[in-house]
Amino acid sequence: MQGAWWAFGITVASIAALAYYAFVVLPARIHRWRCEGLRAFARLIELRTQGRYANAESMAELASAVAQRLGVPLHERRRMELAVYLRDIGMVAIPYPVLNKQTPFTPAERELIARHAEISASITEQIPGLWQVAPIVRLHHVVYSEQSDAPLSAHILSALDDWLRIAESADADTASSVLKQGAGARYHPMVVQAILGEIHQRTLGNLQALTRSAALWL
């Protein structure tokens, strides 16, 4: 009978391992694969616009952290991450001279560029298995006061995209103050709070790391 218990134990353990593999390990690996595949799309736009758009890597990571703060469930977070890589792919259809213009845009050009979100979404819809990502892509420049019922992940991308862009062209403090001013109008207030919280925590973390390394060095 002891043999029977052994066999039973081994069976149960291997089934538990199988379940863990099937429901935790494999989905995570597949998500990583997806991201790696879609990175090529982001890279394409980065090259086409000489780095002005689609800087996906830092954005994906930051967006995921902000979403986690807001309690967005894992599957939604993963979708949002995929949307980060695909959001600017519509730029392939925007004329090259407009994208790479050195002088400020005219209103007509601005309007043309604004169409990229819609084009990105329609390209996303054509990739099998990604139709659920398309709504987030379509609304990744959503304005809170116009469409407050848009998915939270779209609001996150909208605010974060602006924050990153301003932080790059000016500095992080200016970007944060723009977000603060726009909270409730252009940006979702909760999202703004979460982003600022995350940024604050990171600067603190960086400072600590800096002091630590300085202390070690001394």
């Binding site: 597949i30 990175r39 392939v92 090259y96 001279p97 099998p128």
Partner: protein
């Protein structure tokens, strides 16, 4: 199909009808219902992503069938498998998930595989020794392995006949994953066997949860492969959008390139990669200014310099996608020439990977017969005929094109033309 049909009917007759034993009838119905439900959750196994509505099934009811064999006898298992495949297939037909022909093929295959597994298990398993023994575990694993092995052989033959893929490749892929599949299925099968022994058919309900986990593992493993193809096709779609090729240039180049790679004796998985690299070889052009790409007039030298960046840009786009790493050098080097006059690196002969040389020849050929973008055709020149294009390739063999590749490609084109003419005559 006829041969396997006859063989399957023979195997069924040989197994005899288990229904004669009346006390098992209820059990058969119950188990069959569960197995059909399981089968409906099955995973279809089209070898090429283009075919989604047909193909051989990867059945996950196998562990249950083998467990049933050990508990109720081999003939029971064979009938159960035949019945479930047939009924599940029949249910799928109206929803156009599959075609009646494929239901028949799959049913025949499962009967034959189950019979083989039945013979193997009865050879090593003595019912006296009970379920909770090493012997039963061994018999179970042997049964699973036999079933999957026979299924793999039959499947590779069928798929090779139906989709023109080489049987050896399909077989190799299945045999390679056999240890993993047996390892995944054994615990479930063992549990199913124990449950059947202790509680009868109702006991199988207890196996439901692990069974779903197993299924999930298979589905996701399959998805992983699909993702790869999806990424490539979506990128290919972008290339087509960005660059005005005349109909189907990329598809033609990919198909030809794969054929040439096969004829050159490259391993089958490499041939698939060549197909995909050929689909993406002009990916870099999506980055370029479309005013240059679409310019109908002759290009200025600086515009040519722009165009010549596209192989490297293509490689740059794929840089961060590790699973496409093998094709990156081929894309970067598809405009190199054996005499060193190509771009971007000016490599010579053997320095250029053979896959890149294949793509170069096929791409040039399709451009000559009129498949390339309008501005890249030589101005005021009509598209060449097949013979003229081949003559042109032969003229460039050894300098512009790889001589061996040109030789093989010429044969491929001539074979294709012969087949096409034969088709036109009938």
């Amino acid at each position: 199909m006829v041969i396997s049909g006859v063989a399957a009917t023979g195997a069924l007759a040989l197994a005899g009808a288990p229904l004669i034993r009346e006390h098992l009838l209820g059990a058969l119905v119950m188990v069959a219902l569960l197995a059909i439900a399981a089968e409906l959750l099955l995973i279809r196994y089209p070898l090429r992503p283009e075919y989604n509505d047909r193909g051989v099934w990867l059945s996950v009811s196998t562990p249950i069938v083998i467990a049933v064999m050990l508990v109720y006898g081999a003939q029971f298992g064979v009938w159960l498998d035949a019945l479930t495949t047939l009924v599940a297939g029949a249910v799928m037909v109206p929803s156009r998930a599959t075609h009646p022909r494929w239901v028949a093929i799959n049913t025949f295959q499962s009967v034959l595989s189950a019979s083989g597994a039945g013979i193997a298990t009865t050879a090593v398993f003595n019912p006296e020794s009970g379920v909770w023994s090493l012997q039963s575990l061994g018999a179970l694993m042997l049964g699973l392995a036999t079933y999957m092995l026979i299924n793999a052989v039959l499947m590779s033959i069928t798929v090779a006949l139906a989709e023109g893929v080489r049987a050896r490749w399909v077989l190799a892929q299945t045999v390679l994953s056999l240890p993993r599949d047996v390892a995944l299925m054994t615990p479930i099968s063992f549990l199913a066997m124990a449950a059947l022994q202790a509680y009868g058919a109702v006991g199988l309900l207890g196996v439901l949860a692990p069974y779903l986990a197993l299924r999930q593992a298979f589905v996701l493993a399959r998805r992983q492969q699909e993702l790869y193809h999806q990424t490539i096709r979506s990128l290919g779609f972008l290339v087509q959008r960005a660059h005005p090729y005349t109909g189907g240039h990329l598809q033609r180049v990919s198909l030809w390139a794969r054929r040439v790679a096969e004829k050159l004796g490259l391993p089958p998985d490499r041939c698939e990669l060549v197909y995909e690299a050929a689909l993406l070889h002009d990916l870099g052009k999506t980055v370029l200014d479309e005013r240059i790409l679409n310019k109908p007039a002759r290009l200025a030298p600086e515009e040519w310099a722009e165009i010549r960046k596209h192989p490297q840009l293509g490689a740059e786009i794929l840089r961060d996608t590790p699973f496409l790493a093998p094709i990156i050098p081929w894309i970067a080097m598809h405009h190199e020439r054996p005499d060193g006059a190509g771009y971007p690196f000016g490599l010579k002969g053997e320095q250029i990977p053979v896959e890149a040389r294949v793509i170069a020849v096929v791409d040039a050929f399709d451009a000559m017969i009129g498949g390339e973008a309008p501005n890249q055709r030589r101005p005021h020149k009509r598209p060449l005929t097949l013979d003229e294009a081949i003559a042109e390739l032969e003229r460039g063999a050894g300098t512009q094109f790889d001589a061996q590749v040109v030789q093989v490609f010429t044969k491929v084109v001539q074979d294709w033309r012969r087949k096409r003419e034969a088709g036109a005559n009938t």
